[in-house]
Symmetry: C2
């Protein structure tokens, strides 16, 4: 209410006041204002209150750009795959929540799964001199990798963790294990003819590992596996529907379709409804991800739960630990997973 309306309305950008003005107002030096804000213990309670009061009254908001030019910045740069149609939103939420807790901000750029976009994204992120980077769906193209190595910035990859050397740190699950476990789970329920659907695996090690896990399980369990039990489709519900049609065309006796993403699985379930097929009697469906809808779907979806929200948080935590000097060496954190057995398979 008593905030003075200063300067011209919306045009001038420089009418915001700085520490200098606050300092003058209170009758101290700028550094004291800085300390009152960042290191309150180093200022006498009395001075502190006067400073903080003035800040409040003036509506002063410290310029983070300027702060970041000295110490390490308070930006965490993150690259994510397209947010549409994936559980990535949860990961972002996890990162965002955890970052804010420690006063960091997320600078978000979207990659797609191409090397060119990747390099561009990393470049622009590094331009902000972030305290660290969190990379999802990172394909490690050579130039981008080089940038990061040169960059001397802590990097956490949220990724496949099996048999891969992270640039610096990594958080994730073993996609091989999860897919293997699901395949074995389906077999244990008596299914023998198990198809596998994914989006294009080329250049995506998470999907590669899932497919390898599926294949390995089929082999270990002595189940018939042919390449034509596998299809690649686009990451849409429609893709899932297509996959179902394709696979049953190739093998009319197919019993269950294991989809490498819930999106695909949900699409496949709808297609079954359309065809009038009973799930799981005529066709069983399994997914991957345990999105919100999975539990509410009819029939409820058997799927793999990976802790996406936790992965986001853990990635930030790992970064902060490194920044605090608590860890020096490269670390890989494997989070657990669950096979969620529901009605669709």
């Amino acid at each position: 209410m008593d905030t003075p309306q200063r300067g011209s309305p919306r045009s001038a950008k420089g009418n915001r006041l700085g520490m200098r003005e606050i300092a003058r107002l209170v009758g101290v030096s700028p550094i004291t204002v800085s300390r009152a804000l960042n290191d309150p213990d180093k200022v006498s309670p009395e001075t502190r209150d006067r400073v903080l009061g003035a800040i409040e009254r003036a509506g002063f908001i410290p310029n983070q750009l300027a702060s970041s030019m000295r110490g390490p910045g308070r930006i965490i740069g993150t690259m994510v795959p397209p947010l549409i149609n994936s559980g990535i939103a949860e990961q972002v939420q996890g990162m965002s929540d955890e970052a804010l807790l420690s006063g960091y901000q997320l600078l978000l750029v979207q990659g797609d799964f191409t090397a060119a976009a990747e390099e561009k994204a990393v470049r622009s992120l590094l331009g902000w001199r972030p305290a660290g980077l969190i990379l999802q769906a990172f394909v490690q193209s050579a130039p981008a990798r080089q940038l990061l190595v040169d960059g001397a910035v802590p990097v956490v990859e949220i990724s496949e963790i099996r048999g891969k050397r992270p640039i610096d740190m990594a958080v994730g699950v073993s996609n091989f294990e999860t897919a293997y476990a699901m395949t074995a789970h389906l077999a244990s329920k008596g299914y023998k003819r198990i198809g596998f659907v994914s989006t294009p695996v080329h250049g995506n090690d998470r999907l590669q590992q899932r497919r390898i896990g599926y294949r390995q399980a089929m082999k270990d369990l002595g189940l018939r596996h042919k390449v034509d039990l596998e299809v690649e489709v686009t990451l849409t519900h429609q893709g899932g529907a297509e996959a179902l049609r394709l696979l049953t065309q190739r093998d009319p006796k197919l019993e269950v379709v294991f989809c490498s993403s819930d999106t695909l699985a949900i699409g496949a379930v709808q297609e079954c409804h359309r065809l009038g097929w009973k799930i799981p009697e005529r066709m069983a469906i399994a997914g991957y991800g345990d999105v919100d809808l999975a539990a509410q779907l009819y029939p409820s979806l058997t799927t793999v739960r990976v802790p996406r929200y936790e992965m986001g948080r853990e990635a930030v935590r790992q970064l902060l630990r490194r920044l605090a000097g608590e860890t020096r060496s490269s670390t890989i954190i494997s989070l657990g997973f669950e096979i969620i057995d529901r009605d669709s398979a």
Copy 2:
């Protein structure tokens, strides 16, 4: 390949070289390097090539923090509602795509729908001295509003546009119109008993307008409307299922449920399946948003399509136009919508 590996590995943060070093390398002054990058025409082609070559070779990435301290920054601050369970991801994608096109970066913070979070979010955004702000799900709490008015920063709200005075600029649809149109559409198909489901409308003007639109249409069309045809539930698929149970309990003869979000509608559809109810014969369902799944759902979902991706892009465009000095006054952009008539109602 020939990029020299300089300095200590991952610990030292200062080993990145700056314009000064590049300048020295080429034998020009720093300002020439700056110009080669930002204003190539002002540098002789020959000098430019030498500078750019050196930059390339050294792997130099300009420090955006430093640049932003002089001219207007290249950050667009955005506040979004929780990314989970909403079409927001598309809007973010739209903003992100458009912003990147012009060399801006998105600084993302998540609000929830509370005034306290809102103020905090706006504060931290302003701390980065963004070129502009894009606010979604902004409830205009008094302190936050004051911050923005004082802030002298262009603000675009992605919001309800009916009868509201934006802080500065706004992009959106009339939620009243959309809900009115859908209700009328349902009535035109012969439905008389129409229920309405939403998440809590308190403090959310978009939802308020949708509900008012529904009520107004019911009245205008001479349809019976009682408050017990309306329920509020949480924004989850489960919420949609609950709503269906609740409403049919209250009015066993209910014919159609209009959900203020596709998430709810999809949940309601699953519940119908579970109950063994035919859609739309026993119960019809309509949604709002036209998410990806809506078209693939069985039965496919009758819903309202709002151009979320476009809203994101348009918001950024509006901001950029203002920054370019092309517009001075407050503007409100209303984007269109479509009633998508499918099988569920």
